[in-house]
């Protein structure tokens, strides 16, 4: 067994990513949605709003970082993985190579994390420029990394399960889009009606948003952190299993 079997998969993704980065459209598309939210909600609607004893912008930016890292870690991997499996057939090259299914998983997930971190770093820069209270704490960075890892795993799972490229958009509409809006990115989850709260707490991004805003870990933060770790492990194991059982 090759312990570094994941590296060629990661290296390939980075070669492709580097080429995409050189195109203006890629940079713009990674930035445009969170920047729109930042302007519309942060500077527009939220100018006179205070949440959790802080100005709205300071509340919003960590949420946008979480949302952006989720979107980019998940979407790029889900879409590329699905296309590679169903249309370009490059996935065959991986499964026919003498490496383990978990190596394929690790390589793809790390690549997804890089994409998620890249997009969220743009929001972090915007945060430093616009919010005087914004800072990067160890809890913030750890949660961000964990969030990227979790959603990149989910991206692989979607890429493996989706029966067509259109299906990946359907998964996104059902799971990712509601998470972006209801998981505490724009407003605290305690403002959500009691009836749908259990559903909100089933969404991993809710727990990311809880932990990423903590200045210091408390019981609530630890529980949410544990949920993120459990979800990440479960998604990684399930994704590896899907790759292992892949057959044409």
């Amino acid at each position: 067994m090759n312990a570094f079997g994941w590296y060629p998969i990661f290296f390939r993704e980075m070669l492709l990513f580097r080429r995409k980065l050189l195109r203006l459209g890629y940079l713009f598309s990674a930035m445009v949605v969170p920047i729109i939210y930042l302007i519309a909600f942060g500077f527009g609607l939220g100018r006179n709003v205070r949440i959790q004893e802080t100005d709205y912008l300071s509340f919003l930016i960590p949420g946008l970082v979480a949302m952006s890292s989720m979107n980019n870690s998940y979407t790029w991997i889900a879409s590329a993985f699905n296309l590679n499996r169903l249309y370009f057939k490059t996935f065959q090259v991986f499964v026919q190579a003498p490496i383990s299914p978990s190596s394929i998983m690790v390589g793809e997930v790390l690549a997804g994390m890089v994409k998620g971190l890249f997009a969220s770093s743009l929001i972090i820069v915007a945060g430093f420029l616009t919010s005087p209270h914004f800072s990067l704490t160890p809890i913030f960075i750890t949660t961000l990394l964990l969030n990227c890892f979790l959603f990149a795993n989910l991206g692989v799972i979607t890429g493996m399960l989706a029966k067509s490229h259109e299906d990946t958009a359907t998964y996104s509409n059902f799971f990712i889009m509601p998470m972006a809006f209801f998981s505490g990115t724009f407003f605290p989850v305690d403002k959500v009606p009691q009836l749908i709260k259990p559903i909100i707490y089933l969404m991993p991004l809710t727990h990311t948003n809880i932990v990423i805003r903590k200045a210091a870990m408390d019981q609530e933060g630890l529980i949410s952190f544990a949920v993120l770790i459990i979800c990440s492990i479960a998604f990684f194991v399930y994704g590896s299993r899907l790759i292992k059982n892949y057959t044409e």
């Binding site: 090759n2 590296y7 060629p8 390939r12 490059t90 499964v95 190579a97 003498p98 044409e248």
Partner: protein, 277 residues
């Protein structure tokens, strides 16, 4: 070297491969010939660990394909029917990643010789998306040879290529067997099977209906074929054991009778009543 026993695979209600058995000797060029949908690609996918058989057993170099896939993957090179190159990467990068996946030792040297073998060294830094179909097929072949595999699987290696490029491809395939490599080819081109294969297995509707050398297969059904158009305007091909029998058949027909050597398509028609298309 390769042993296939009672191999079966279904997709839903469709039996793609039914109880297929054959053996391939070391250093042999073995062809699977049949029309589209005969089960050729399904067999290749099962032998190369991409597809799991419903029943039966495949062994390569003494390793079980389903139970020891790692050992199999180390020993095989594959040219798939569908192009699975990374089009947004260069030829060199495609081979580099493949070489890393297969832990090729002298990476630069092996990539250089693999690309030179198919005359693509000068285009190593070009994106694959800028390559013609023929160049991409050649690159697929050089990628498969990069790991110096003991068995090379070629699934319709010259599909979609014009005749001149196809012959270039055949020359490269002929070179690959110089060092005693076993080659398994699927094709629906009669000429390709006859030009390259030591033995040919003929597949029809998922079943192996004949297996022998092209020469023996033709001898089995008759070495001469008389071709003519009958009164209904249909092309009739009559296989005969001797040239004299074919001439006898042609007697009395002065409207364009052709007598020629039989080919593997005549064998297929004789055995199944259908054409390879």
């Amino acid at each position: 070297m390769i042993e296939v026993k009672d191999l079966t695979k279904s997709y839903g209600n469709i039996r793609a491969v039914q109880d297929v058995s054959f053996e391939i000797r070391k250093g042999e060029v073995f062809g699977l010939l049949g029309p589209n949908g005969a089960g050729k690609t399904t067999i290749i996918k099962m032998l190369t660990t991409l597809s799991r058989p419903d029943a039966g057993r495949c062994m390569i170099d003494g390793f079980h394909v389903v139970e020891e896939p790692f050992e199999i993957k180390k020993r095989i090179g594959i040219v798939p029917q569908e192009n699975n190159l990374d089009r947004e990467l260069t030829a060199y990068e495609n081979l580099l990643i493949y070489g890393m996946l297969h832990r090729v030792r002298d990476m630069k040297g092996e990539i250089r010789s693999a690309l030179r073998m198919v005359d693509l060294w000068d285009r190593k830094d070009s994106l694959v998306s800028s390559f013609s179909g023929g160049m991409q097929r050649r690159l697929l072949l050089s990628r498969a040879l990069l790991t110096v595999p003991s068995v090379l699987f070629l699934d319709e290696p010259s599909i979609g290529l014009d005749p001149q490029i196809r012959r270039q491809m055949w020359n490269v395939i002929r070179k690959t067997r110089i060092d005693g490599r076993t080659v398994v080819i699927t094709t629906h081109y009669i000429e390709e099977a006859e030009a390259l294969c030591d033995r040919v297995g003929i597949l029809s509707k998922g079943k192996l209906i004949a297996l022998d050398s092209p020469k023996n297969l033709k001898a089995m059904v008759g070495e001469y074929t008389a071709e003519f158009i009958n009164n209904d305007g249909r092309l009739i091909q009559q296989v005969c054991r001797r040239r004299e029998d074919a001439l006898e058949m042609a007697r009395g027909r002065d409207d364009g009778v052709t007598i020629r050597r039989s080919n593997l398509e005549d064998v297929f028609i004789k055995l199944t009543g259908e054409r390879i298309e």
